[in-house]
Symmetry: C2
């Protein structure tokens, strides 16, 4: 079942039509909700709708979308970057926070748009890095009506072909980073510096290959990241890279990704430095079979929780339930880790009134892009592959393609 | 005024007494508030009080501190890491989210602690990565009384000598990364790969120098980061590292830091690749003078807003107010960017009823650790140094020490 062939031609930048489609859908929602404007404070949602990305800090950014306008309130330091964006009709700004008055500027923007009834992603800006200003309603000089909505977070679940193409491109460069990581791994090296070297060389190859097609998204670093946790740290799902040089017999749990116009893939492998022991081989094969069972269970219309249940049943049958520490996977896209989750409780979660979800959200659907990563953790070592796999109209598409089998994941000592 | 001598012996790990002191202060607050327990959902606050760090995801972590116990609720995948922590008296866990019931486990933990009146940092877990479960009160089977508090966020403002020692150690490795960054910079190189190479070599030196004294805090990467934005991107305070090789005449805006047991420093320099033009030299000197004015204004008891006002007045006098895009600086510590802020509006902010702050929070105090980074941005280039400077009982301490003057920041073409 291991994939050995990278996918075909890919894309490095979202096309205009992606934003046209997103804004059209939002404007339909505005009409259905009978409100004048949609408002967003969340950086990822603002980027999803406009392509304008920014670092979410204590300085609020407020996006307003009406049926015919798209305007934004930003701190002074984002004005020139916002001006580069062709979709933004007008930019309003305040000097800085807390000296400036972001919500006063935003409510003036909304008043000028004649937007009195709003559907917003929150009542005000998040408390990131200590923002403590008023909510929109508190800042407004006239009565405004605000309902909250979660439209963008939900829209992000089903990726379009354009988005999937970016995730495929990410997987190509992640694969190269991962290849370098394996190639540079030798006994006596620092895990951290092997990781950094692999990231550097794969980033360089990506920059030189893509040229003008590369969309700059990092600050003072490269677009590809490949790294690992090694030896005893692998027994912890969220372990750290210790200051312990690589030793023969080490288990490695790798991770590689690349940022392609803001989208990510995820590739993880359990590897061994030198021939694995019988125990290492035993748990590797158990983990591999669990991942295969999960992947075989994927498809459109499948209850999401079913995939977790299948893996749990296998672990129980093999008597290793107590070595599993987490559910099978999550979605990936603009965030490296985003809902929905492959969890035995996902179906109940969608049926609870307290959540924003509906019963139909309990099923896999075309456009979902999953990480499939069941893990086993002994007292000394961890075992986890992660592949990125998309749900299609009639099945699945493997997005990551580094070989999964034991032989391919053993690094020769010489 | 440029500092050329690194500070003396430093520390790489917070001592036990740091946690003893923090918990003692929290227990005093509990007694004053007359509540049974303090509760925290925020990852940074939980780390501050216990030393247990974790990635904040959709899986809630809940810390409870009573007068004689410290207990925590975690997802299954954090159990073994939490067990390594000597300060945690008991660990409770749920399998995962949303299949597990984190708030049910947490409320049982609180009931067993006989904690019925609580002071919590929020009513429930944050919505990070899609958490949508109940609040604590909604999950409790018996009546509990919850008030919210911001104790840890506020306690973090005044760093102790132990914390400052970690930030000093961070500055040493940031300085080495920055030195390498300048040394590796040549015409025709990729900015991203120069950054990655400097980060790798400085990380290697840090790992080899500290040995067992190194506290692992990264996953698949090194502890030092040095990088820059270059050429036209420098005109944007939050620009990206473009895929454009270095050219003679480029302005570089650098940034370097290192993670020392979870603490950071910040070092930024405006550098030139080859001799600067008259315009570049002109704005560099203006920026340098603005930074000097800000640093001269620092000290215990100084109104925080005064420092921003002084820089604004200088920019106005020089006729470059329209080239400034942000306030002078922020605090730094466990987060790379944290309150309070050197902003002309800070004093009013503290006096507003809507904020959590008091009038005395408007002044600089011993233990504040500031980044001082006024910037000037023309249509083509940006100019910004950032130094990390601590407020002492009777003045200031320079924590970063890379030379600030023009000559030291020109990189020879050959």
């Amino acid at each position: 079942m291991a994939r050995a062939t990278p996918p075909g031609p890919t894309r490095t930048r979202l096309p205009e039509r992606a934003f046209d489609e997103r804004l059209e859908r939002i404007r339909e929602r505005l009409a259905e909700a009978g409100v004048d404007a949609g408002v967003w404070f969340g950086a990822t949602s603002i980027e999803y709708l406009t392509g304008f990305d920014h670092i979410q800090t204590e300085r609020p950014v407020v996006l307003a979308v009406t049926q015919d306008r798209l305007e934004i309130t930003v701190p002074r330091l984002e004005v020139e970057r916002a001006e580069l964006n062709p979709r933004i009709d007008a930019i309003h700004h305040y000097r800085d926070y807390p000296g400036g008055e972001p919500m006063a500027v935003a409510t003036t923007m909304l008043a000028d748009l004649e937007a009195h009834t709003l559907a917003a992603d929150a009542e005000g800006a998040p408390g990131t890095m200590g923002y403590q200003g008023p909510t929109l309603a508190e800042a407004a000089e006239v009565d405004i009506s605000i309902e909250t909505q979660d439209w963008v977070s939900r829209m992000r679940w089903e990726k379009t072909e354009d988005e999937l193409a970016l995730i495929r491109e990410s997987a190509r460069w992640a694969n190269l980073g991962h290849r370098y990581l394996a190639d540079f791994t030798t006994v006596g090296e620092h895990p951290a510096t092997v990781s950094q070297r692999a990231s550097m060389e794969a980033s360089r190859a990506m920059l030189d290959t893509l040229g003008d097609r590369y969309v700059a998204r990092t600050r003072g670093s490269g677009p590809v990241h490949a790294g690992y946790i090694t030896g005893p740290q692998t027994s912890l799902p969220h372990g750290h890279t210790a200051n312990r040089r690589l030793e023969a017999g080490d288990t490695l749990v790798t991770g590689a990704s690349a940022n392609v116009d803001g989208y990510y893939s995820e590739l993880e492998r359990t590897m061994f430095l030198g021939e694995p022991s019988d125990e290492q081989e035993h748990y590797f094969e158990l983990m591999l079979e669990a991942q295969t069972i999960a992947i075989d269970a994927l498809g459109p219309g499948v209850p999401i929780s079913h995939v977790d249940d299948e893996v749990e049943a296998y672990f129980e049958e093999q008597g290793v339930s107590d070595l599993a520490q987490h559910h099978v996977g999550h979605n990936i896209g603009m965030a490296g880790h985003e809902p929905p989750y492959i969890d035995s409780g996902w179906g109940d979660h969608c049926n609870r009134e307290a959540t924003n979800y509906d019963p139909e959200d309990a099923e896999m659907a075309p456009g979902h892009v999953w990480t499939i990563e069941p893990g086993i953790y002994t007292e000394t070592d961890g075992y986890r592959h992660s592949d990125t796999i998309a749900i299609t109209d009639d099945g699945i598409e493997w997005v990551t393609y580094f070989p999964r089998d034991l032989e391919s994941n053993i690094i020769d000592l010489e």
